[in-house]
Amino acid sequence: MNTIAAKNLHSLRTLTFNIFRYDPKRPEVKPRMDSYQLEEADAMTLFIALNELRETQDPTLQFDFVCRAGICGSSGMLINGVPKLACRVLTKDLPATISLAPLPGFELIGDLSVNTGKWMRGMSERLETWIHTSEQEPDFHKIEQPMEPELSEKLYELERCVECGVCFSACGTAQMRPNFAGAVGLNQMARFQLDPRDERTDADFYEVIGDENGVFGCMTLLGCDDLCPKELPLAQQIAYMRRKMAKTRKGLF
């Protein structure tokens, strides 16, 4: 339960939100920044603040939240220029003036809402981020091959990615070269490369990430690793795939 300690009552501020506004369905209305004022509340997250703004001031404001707990990954936005999950950001950690903008690199749905799903699906189809097996009809009644607990824990760790798009928006490479697979894609490749159930060889992975749109495009700016809301070891996974891919396929061409 959120209770306001009496001594803190006076420290609550009036926040100013400068919010990017644009509706691609109404191209005649130019993109602009709208300003809103809101009384700060105790333990207020941006999720709470934005909902209050929409309920009390501007019902046309578009933004995405589902789980409001950093699990669904839909609230990614630029908060004072930095991509973060808005549901996990407390207003008390921000200055009194807060600028909000949609994540760059994704199709804009409107205002703060972007279509990360479309990009993620494209990436997933391009890199084929699923288990590849020669079994035609998997028998679901058969007991699965056992896996070492350490390996299964490692896969589980990498599976925690919620595809929020923060790593892609924090990546200089991706912002300059939109065909780049991004940390989200390369991390998933590492996850399937480690998985013994996936029968793809390193040469097969090279086919999809062995170029400048893949692992050799990464310039190690490390924005992904520092800003991932799930704190995934993204730099390590990319380095792992880079080493694997560098060792794959002998000969120059």
Binding site: V82, G172, D211, C218, L221, Q236, R242
Partner: protein, 246 residues
């Protein structure tokens, strides 16, 4: 892979080679440059020490007499490595107004140290295309003009000092950032605890950069001082104390 309507074909081994060679040439240049810095700074130990280093690199210890051509050859080799490294690093440069705009917006908004440092690396790399080429060409064409007096005269009387002064800062910043990024990029030496190692590595990187800048400034100052005192006898060469006493 199909992007838009153009089938780019399958990724080739070339992408991997380019990335590996960029890293290997970069590593080589950094190690060479640091070693070079120590050798050049021998002037801080006195004119005789620097004279000895010069003669060593001209092969006198091995052949009985000096061959300045060896310096030319070494400089030409370094220029070639630099050429390969610069050519491969060009792949990383922003190439259009759009890319510069996206990058500037990201850097300004993100205020992320390693992203900003990367941009500094791009800019210093660009400056080095020119500064390092001038420096190396001078050595290729005048390999014999290295020595306590010859070098000091070149720096002071022939006014090479602005080039060396700028290059010192630019090259140390570029090398430090490069070596740090190379370790992060290939994920070597990091396996046990990458986050702590990265913080530690970044500290070490800055310490090394500052160390070499200070060493470089002291060295450049020493040559300037000798050059100033020697400005009226520019064509005169140094003869070590031991030779003078014979």
């Amino acid at each position: 892979m199909i992007i838009g309507t153009v089938d780019l074909g399958r990724p080739t081994r070339l992408s991997a080679w380019m990335d590996i060679v960029q890293g290997v040439t970069g590593l080589f240049l950094v190690v060479f440059m640091w070693a070079h810095m120590f050798l050049v700074s021998s002037i801080l130990l006195g004119k005789d020490a620097m004279y000895f280093v010069t003669r060593l690199f001209e092969g006198e210890l091995f052949f009985g007499r000096a061959f300045p051509q060896l310096v030319s050859m070494l400089a030409f080799f370094i220029l070639t490595v630099l050429f390969v490294h610069a050519f491969l690093a060009l792949r990383r440069f922003p190439t259009s107004a759009n890319q510069y705009r996206s990058l500037h917006r990201l850097i300004q908004g993100l205020k992320h140290k390693d992203t900003t440092l990367w941009y500094a690396q791009v800019l210093t790399g660009f400056i080095l295309f020119f500064l390092a080429s001038v420096h190396l060409y001078q050595l290729i064409s005048h390999p014999g003009d290295i020595g306590p007096y010859a070098t000091s005269d070149r720096i002071y009387s022939e006014r090479m000092w602005p080039l060396y002064l700028i290059m010192l800062f630019v090259v140390e910043l570029h090398a430090g950032a490069g070596i740090y990024r190379l370790v992060m990029k290939w994920g070597i030496f990091l396996d046990s605890n990458p986050k702590t190692m990265r913080t530690r590595l970044r500290k070490i990187k800055w310490l090394i950069t500052v160390f070499f800048i200070v060493l470089g400034l002291l060295t450049l100052g020493a040559y300037m001082k000798i050059g100033h005192a020697h400005q009226d006898a520019v064509s005169q060469r140094y003869h070590p104390a031991i030779e003078q006493s014979l």
